[in-house]
């Protein structure tokens, strides 16, 4: 037996040594620049992630058609993290050590991104954020730049709570999943609500994989709130809207929604249909908002998306993911290097021109000038994709600069409004 053991250990060690790759490669002038990330392509965030991915791929193709970056081709490496934060540390370690990626992009959304923040900080790598919320607040990495059009909780809840106040609401119910994004947002909203005189009558967390919201909706209804702020992810959003429709939320509710991720994904909007009516929720882009050049982007995007059988409208994420590419491109061309540190220094002090407007960052790597909107779903019909292409289905109610209409209250009336 000892013989056996020696052999096993010996072979094992030899195999490990044989499989090893030398520590550094010599770059040829024509060697490609590798940009890598993991994207949730399946799982709860999958519908959004697949659309976002097309946005990035469009940029990769565009930049390679122009001759690449610094004369070198851009090679894009992407994995599927299945919307599961447990998978991302392994994937990003693989990207850095096995694939030898030069520039990292974060996965779409907060929850898959949170686990890799310490890793990225320790390795001193630049990370291009992708629609996460306050994910850098604890780790404070100085090479983090988030493309999302928000900064902190104020941009989300202020508009929502203001609209509620205008309708005379004084009591607030808050519920959120126990996960990074939802908690960050809900805590922010609670802070603001408390400081502006709201009476919080219901305040609960639920596990992220909860599928049956009957008891929560029932409890919310029993607390008789006049405003209901929800921070949730796509699977939960669908279940919550179905539950609200099944059980009812109470006739005194003026305004419902706030921070529901997933109600911006076209497949979900299509499947929920009229269940969406009346909900006031955040968005990054809806038809009617002015961004120069974006119509052209959507045309090109649609073609690729339809061919890939993915969200054909692509409003929420794809343009912003394309913008990530644009920012990388502009930074690399300006600094003439892919050295992460130099790129980060440049990004800290530059305002970039992108298809979603100008983007500049504050000292935390979040947007210096947020441009988030709150919209209200109105007159949405079931099983109709085309209806979302024109303005009027998602009416912008806040902020004033993008406003398209006033909030219709109470919630029950808004659900039937035309």
């Amino acid at each position: 037996m000892d013989n056996m053991r020696r052999k096993v250990i010996g072979t094992g060690t030899a195999a490990l040594v044989a499989a090893s790759v030398p520590g550094s490669l010599v770059f040829a002038q024509g060697a490609p620049i590798k940009i890598g990330m993991s994207m949730p392509q399946t799982g709860g965030l999958g519908a959004g992630g697949q659309a976002a991915l097309i946005g990035i791929r469009m940029w990769v193709d565009d930049v390679n058609a122009k001759g690449g970056l610094l004369g070198r081709k851009v090679e894009f490496i992407v994995y599927d993290d299945q919307s599961n934060g447990a998978n991302t540390p392994g994937i990003y370690t693989k990207l850095l050590d096995v694939d030898k990626v030069d520039i990292l992009i974060a996965p779409y959304a907060t929850n898959p991104t949170a686990p890799i923040m310490p890793l990225v900080k320790e390795r001193g790598k630049l990370l291009m954020g992708n629609f996460s919320f306050q994910v850098n607040s604890k780790v404070q990495h100085d090479m983090w730049f988030n493309n999302a059009p928000w900064n902190d909780a104020r941009g989300w809840s202020e508009g929502f709570l203001e609209a509620g106040k205008n309708a005379g609401a004084k009591s607030l119910a808050v519920f959120a999943a126990d996960a990074e994004f939802q908690q960050n947002l809900a805590n922010g909203a609670r802070e603001i609500a408390k400081n502006s005189g709201w009476n919080i009558v219901y305040n609960q967390n639920y596990p992220g994989n909860n599928t049956d919201f009957s008891s929560i909706i029932r409890s919310v209804r029993a607390a008789r709130p006049e405003a209901v702020f929800v921070a949730c992810y796509p699977n939960e959003a669908v279940a919550i809207m179905r539950s609200v429709n099944e059980i009812g939320i109470g006739s005194q509710v003026q305004i419902f929604g706030g921070g529901m991720v997933g109600l911006q994904f076209t497949p979900i909007m299509q499947s929920l249909g009229s269940l969406l009516n009346g909900v006031v929720n955040f968005n990054s882009y809806v038809p009617g908002m002015k961004f120069p050049g974006i119509e052209d982007f959507f045309k090109r995007y649609s073609e690729r998306a339809i061919a890939a059988k993915v969200d054909p409208l692509g409003y929420y994420l794809p343009p912003f993911n394309y913008a990530i590419g644009q920012m990388i491109e502009q930074a690399v061309n300006a600094t003439k290097t892919i050295d992460n540190k130099k790129l980060a220094e440049h990004m800290r002090k530059t305002e970039f021109n992108t298809i979603v407007g100008p983007i500049s960052f504050d000292k935390n790597g979040e947007r210096a000038k947020p441009r988030l909107v709150q919209t209200q779903f109105r007159n949405v019909k079931d099983n109709d994709l085309e209806q979302f292409k024109s303005p009027g289905k998602q009416v912008v109610v806040w902020p004033a600069v993008d406003k398209q209409g006033d909030v219709i209250t109470p919630f029950d009336r808004a659900r039937k409004a035309t």
Binding site: D212, A222, I247
Partner: protein, 290 residues
């Protein structure tokens, strides 16, 4: 703090939920309770039933019909599984405990991973006219999907109880768990009887799987939480008791519903496993067991 109204509604919802849990555990009650097979793969087959229902319902059929249509298929699967288990384990060596358990555990994981590979980790749902609306009685709302599941559960439980008490084969199944030798003397082949029982248990799983996807969305990893719920019901009932399964299911359903209402949904997963552990600690033979 918690109003009586709300509590009452929680209990009512718990009754619906409990009957659903009972129906989902019936198969295990037979396979493990009566036959003593360490059938930890039962919840995985339940989820498999849900996914097959999902596939079949794409043809436009109502999910309940799909479930019924799948029952003969699952019956055959059950027979095959038991036959294999019997030939490989029960017949041969003394080490059956570890190996039998490991075998079914392995099967459960294989089913789960294959589901992930084929369907992905996304949640799947079915649609039907009764899914999405509720019955309004006064201030209370009862979702129709729960009422449908409740109805099927009662139907299945009654059917099985009658089968086991009134028919020769049914009584033979109950007997084979207690005294195989005596059964042989009565002219029945114990192996064939056990096979039949296992087939029935797995067939029930098909309809239970249809119920599961009617009640809510399913994803491949759900078999893990259902290990807790189904084994909790079976252990609480006591091995070998069919009607006990219904009572045990009700206890679990009401407990879970009330906990969700009072402590919050984040404590719900612990209810079934906690009850299970409690039962194992103080009264392992269950409430109605022999």
């Amino acid at each position: 703090m918690i109003s009586i109204d709300l509590l009452f509604e929680a209990v009512l919802f718990g009754i619906l939920l409990g009957c659903f849990y009972a129906a989902v555990s019936l198969g295990l009650s037979v396979a493990f309770g009566l036959l003593d097979v360490p059938y930890v793969a039962h919840p995985a087959l339940l989820i498999l039933g849900s996914y097959f229902t999902f596939l079949l319902s794409k043809t436009g059929l109502d999910p309940i019909i799909c479930g019924l249509l799948l029952m003969p298929v699952f019956y055959l699967i059950g027979i095959a599984l038991y036959r294999f288990y019997y030939e490989t384990f029960e017949r041969r060596s003394s080490d059956t405990g570890v190996r039998g358990l490991a075998f079914f555990f392995g099967i459960a994981f294989i089913i789960e991973v294959c589901l992930i590979l084929v369907f992905g980790v996304d949640q799947r749902t079915v649609s039907a006219t009764y899914i999405g609306s509720s019955l309004e009685i006064g201030e209370y709302r009862f979702p129709y999907r729960m009422l449908v599941a409740f109805g099927i559960a009662i139907f299945l439980t009654t059917l099985l109880t009658l089968y086991f008490s009134k028919t020769f084969n049914g009584r033979a199944i109950k007997a084979v768990g207690q005294d195989e030798g005596a059964l042989r003397l009565m002219g029945a082949n114990p192996v064939k009887i056990k096979q039949l029982a296992f087939g029935i248990a797995t067939a029930v799983n098909a309809l239970a799987g249809a119920m599961l996807i009617i009640v809510g969305p399913v994803e491949p990893a759900m078999d893990r939480i259902y290990i807790g719920r189904t084994f909790c019901v079976v252990v609480l009932a006591g091995l070998g008791s069919m009607s006990g399964t219904l009572v045990a299911g009700l206890i679990l359903g009401i407990a879970e519903s009330v906990v969700m209402m009072t402590l919050g949904a984040s404590w719900a997963p612990a209810v079934s496993f906690g009850l299970l552990l409690l039962m194992l600690g103080i009264r392992p033979q269950g409430l109605f067991g022999r």
